[in-house]
Amino acid sequence: MKLSKLVLAALATAALSSSLYAAGQGDAAKAATGKKLIVIITPSPANPFFKSEAVAAEARAKAMGYEPMVLVHDDDANKQNNLIDTAIANKALAIILDNAGADATITAVKKAKDAGIPSFLIDREINATGVAVSQIVSNNYQGAKLGAEEFVKLMGEKGDFVELVGKESDTNAGIRSKGYHDVIDQYPALKMVARQSANWSQPEAYSKMESILQANPNIKGVICGNDTMAMGAMAALKTAGKGNVIVVGFDGSNDVRDSIKAGDIKATVLQPAARISEMAVEQADTYLKNKSTGLPEKQLIDCVLITAANADKLETFALKQ
């Protein structure tokens, strides 16, 4: 009995490692331990953007013969630090990380590097090079300029508008707002009558929009730091009978896609979240095989403007070709 169990276990192990080899993912030393772990760490999947990011990385890692482990840092740098420790303790081959702070993350990623684990950053960058192997950064600034240029065009380069900003502690809230203003402020006939943070939140955007409308009933447009706030603002505008006010968002969510198709929200900016995650896993694989990705560390991935003209092709943070 005992012997047959042992044989079975040995057979299972053999089958597992041979399937790993069959997938063609080199690194014999690590594969011999029978585990090819890739740790994926992102902010909370409550936001569909981050969920899409994690799901895409996990799927690509599985498809390439790795064992993905998906963890969530909730934008908490201390929690992120603990998760990096978990990755080190589990002898991960690589870490895919959408990080919790441009400065706070540097030491955490360095710790992983010192433990021999390469990190591949997605979406947001850190203020240091030479610590991570790749930083595949969503070009939020370029995306914000695209969104603002479309907003300016829709506004006819003039009129009163409102800006809803994201969570102020979030780097991307600042970058997007800066991109918006670097474009909009070049048009003297565009006048910002209110600028408030709605903390990326749909209900908060709804109530902020409601009160802004009471003081400024004749606004012509609302530019928002993300799609959930655009959804909240649009709902408040429609309730107030002002569904013709121009609303522009950022992210490229399916909700806003449907709103654009219905003629409500006018435009958003797609960050190719899914593709960025896949690229990170592919670069991790290349690095593990060749000790180099053959690419520059910092890679800016451009965002794409979504309007009624191409909204049909948008699905879960990716554009169908």
Binding site: A77, N78, N81, A102, D103, A104, E125, N127, T129, V137, N139, N140, Y141, Q142, K145, E149, E157, E168, S169, T171, G174, I175, S177, K178, G179, H181, D182, V183, Q186, Y187, R195, P272, R275, M279, L295, P296, E297, K298, Q299, L300, I301, D302
Partner: protein
């Protein structure tokens, strides 16, 4: 002695949370409504950077390495991938259009300054089989608002790796465009452009099906 271990952990935790508190305090100190991005420390002087780059490297590169625009457009139409590899440049391996250093001779057909993104329509005078046919072959940005990052993205001696973050990298592009507005177009009156001939050196971003827009770095009016 053993009991001191959790104590050490506790104080480590306290120390860690101290960092977070300090950050919050920094945020709380912001002027209300003012735009402050904590990872932009303002240490990058884009004006000085462009000041050095423009005459010493950018203009010589444009003179020596630019491709005649109408022949480039023909090559791109025939073999986009090949011509992009040969003459173009982009930062990433996929998902972004290529950028090119170009030059050419043209006549201005029409100027549109209704939008602050001013545009002149160019009839390229060396367009094969269509030289000076009175049809627009390309567009020229004339400001006062300049769009895009064709100049930055076409330069082989500028890499995102050399910049702390995307804001510094963006500041460089904005400053290059400002230099076009304040330098290249300092003496140019848009209302007097129509019908005139010019030789241009500049940069374009190519996307199939969309007319190319030249961001000029040097203009000679004839």
């Amino acid at each position: 002695m053993r009991r001191s271990f959790p104590l050490v952990c506790m104080s480590a935790l306290v120390l860690l949370s101290c960092v977070v508190v300090r950050h919050d305090e920094k945020d709380a100190g912001k002027t209300k409504g003012a735009l402050e991005i904590y990872f932009a420390d303002g240490s990058f002087d884009a004006k000085a950077y462009v000041g050095e780059l423009w005459d010493a490297r950018l203009l010589p590169y444009s003179t020596e390495k630019s491709t005649e625009l109408s022949s480039l457009l023909e090559r791109l139409a025939a073999d986009e991938a090949g011509a992009s590899r040969e003459f173009g440049r982009r930062q990433v391996a996929e998902g972004a259009p290529f950028n090119f250093a170009v030059r050419g001779e043209a006549r201005v057909l029409k100027v549109n300054t209704e939008s602050r993104v001013g545009i002149a329509e160019l009839d390229l005078l060396s367009a094969p089989g269509a030289a000076g046919d009175g049809k627009a072959d390309a567009l020229l940005q004339i400001g006062p608002v300049f769009k895009g990052s064709s100049i930055r993205d076409a330069l082989p001696f500028v890499s995102f790796d050399d910049f702390v973050n995307q804001l510094d990298y963006a500041a460089l592009s904005n400053e290059l465009n400002a230099r076009v507005r304040d330098g290249v177009f300092a003496e140019t009156d848009p209302s007097a452009m129509t019908g005139k001939k010019l030789v241009f050196h500049g940069f374009v971003t190519y996307e199939r099906g969309i007319p190319v827009v030249v961001t000029p770095v040097r203009l000679e009016w004839k």
